[in-house]
């Protein structure tokens, strides 16, 4: 499965989702499909996308949050899997695109290339709903199922180690950050109207 095709498959569903991506290929490829104000690209701080997603999900339980992570990033913050499992926000889906390499720095193989199993790690951390997929249709189905699962879901998606030719996009980091924050503010549910008197 190509990661770009996987992103394209779920792109329509992302319209109704608050999305946090990691740096590099995932951010550039999602932007190539079309940036939206509900997408936040964490362009550095490897490992913290899942933690940032947890902070969003706990703070705004009425919103659906998707973290689009990678094997290199989550391997830097495996403890995050245990924290996610501990608080298990039902409105969070944690997708890990596993291409078994650190693609953006030259494709050096990560430990998932030598047998470390992220789905098994997620299950062992205590995440109840874990899907491991390698085909596009299965990925699309798992992502859709996560929306109605009503529980924290992790999807480990094996993808090819191929990415875009360039990683820098024309969206400045801070523009993205402030636009995203403003968008989330606007998504606040309006205060309930007083009962209309007849």
């Amino acid at each position: 499965m190509e990661r770009l095709e996987a992103l394209r498959a779920i792109y329509p569903e992302l319209e109704q989702t608050v999305v946090v991506t990691i740096m590099g290929a995932v951010a550039a490829e999602l932007q190539s499909l079309g940036h939206r104000p509900n997408f936040f690209y964490l362009q550095h701080a490897m490992g913290l996308a899942s933690s940032l997603g947890l902070g969003l999900a706990l703070s705004r339980p009425e919103l659906r949050v998707a973290v689009l992570d990678g094997d290199g990033s989550i391997l830097m913050n495996l403890g995050s899997l245990t924290t996610l499992a501990r608080y298990r926000p039902p409105n969070l889906v944690h997708v890990v695109f596993d291409n078994e390499s650190l693609l953006s720095v030259g494709g050096f193989p990560t430990a998932t290339s030598t047998g470390s199993d992220l789905a098994a790690l997620a299950r062992a951390a205590g995440i109840g709903n874990v899907a491991s997929v390698g085909e596009l249709e299965a990925f699309r189905a798992a992502f859709s199922a996560a929306a109605s699962a009503g529980e924290l879901t992790a999807i480990i998606a094996k993808v090819e180690a191929r990415g875009p030719t360039a990683y820098v996009t024309d969206l400045p980091l801070l523009e993205n950050r402030f636009q995203f924050q403003r968008h989330l503010k606007q998504l606040r549910r309006p205060p309930r109207r007083a009962h209309r008197k007849r």
Partner: protein
């Protein structure tokens, strides 16, 4: 949720590993309460923490408070991400950590909070200074303030109870106007009673 154990031995190691006797750790409940109330008054509704002896009362107060979301971390750097998410989502947060946890969070502070202009209110228990008996705390104690300076993080000590409320309020105000991390060093004189 699991509670932090509060007992320690006669030699009073401050690392919290010795849990055999019933003697309470001499961490100030009163001053912890001052800090906690200042956080609440400042609108903090999410606290991330990694247990540390000086922080036990603060963590328990957060745990017992139905208005507060307490996130217990595996490693302090996670808290930088969680606070960033909370901020972008419109929720005020604070981080409770030991200075060694601050040392373990540096890339998150630089490459998330500073790069993306996220206000962080970091309450850091300042171990390894004068009066420290645990040898393993002393190296970290020696570099904490220098590192905060190197990172250009505005820092004040909390060492007197009369300053607690005002300093926390001022720290939060600066973090939110500058959109940057700020640090309050929880001092032995404030936290430890013996």
């Amino acid at each position: 949720m699991d509670a932090v154990r509060l007992a320690t031995g006669a030699r009073i190691p401050e690392n919290g590993h010795c849990l055999s006797s019933n003697r309470a750790v001499p961490v100030s409940v009163e001053h912890s309460k001052l800090i906690y109330e200042a956080l609440k008054q400042g609108g903090v509704r999410l606290v991330s923490a990694l247990p540390e002896t000086w922080l036990v009362h603060l963590i328990r107060m957060a745990e017992d408070d139905p208005e507060m979301t307490l996130v217990r971390l595996a490693k302090e750097e996670e808290g930088i991400g969680i606070s960033a998410g909370a901020h972008l989502a419109g929720v005020r947060s604070a981080l409770l950590m030991q200075n060694h946890g601050f040392l373990a969070s540096v890339n998150g502070i630089v490459s998330l909070a500073q790069l993306y202009r996220i206000p962080l209110l970091m309450l850091i228990s300042y171990r390894g200074g004068f009066g420290e008996r645990d040898p393993w705390q002393t190296e970290g104690g020696g570099v904490t303030e220098e590192l905060l300076r190197a990172l250009r993080i505005p820092t004040e000590r909390l060492d007197r109870p009369s300053d607690v409320g005002r300093r926390i309020r001022q720290a939060q105000t600066l973090a939110e106007s500058a959109l940057r991390p700020v640090a309050l060093l929880l001092d032995r004189d404030l936290m430890w009673e013996e």
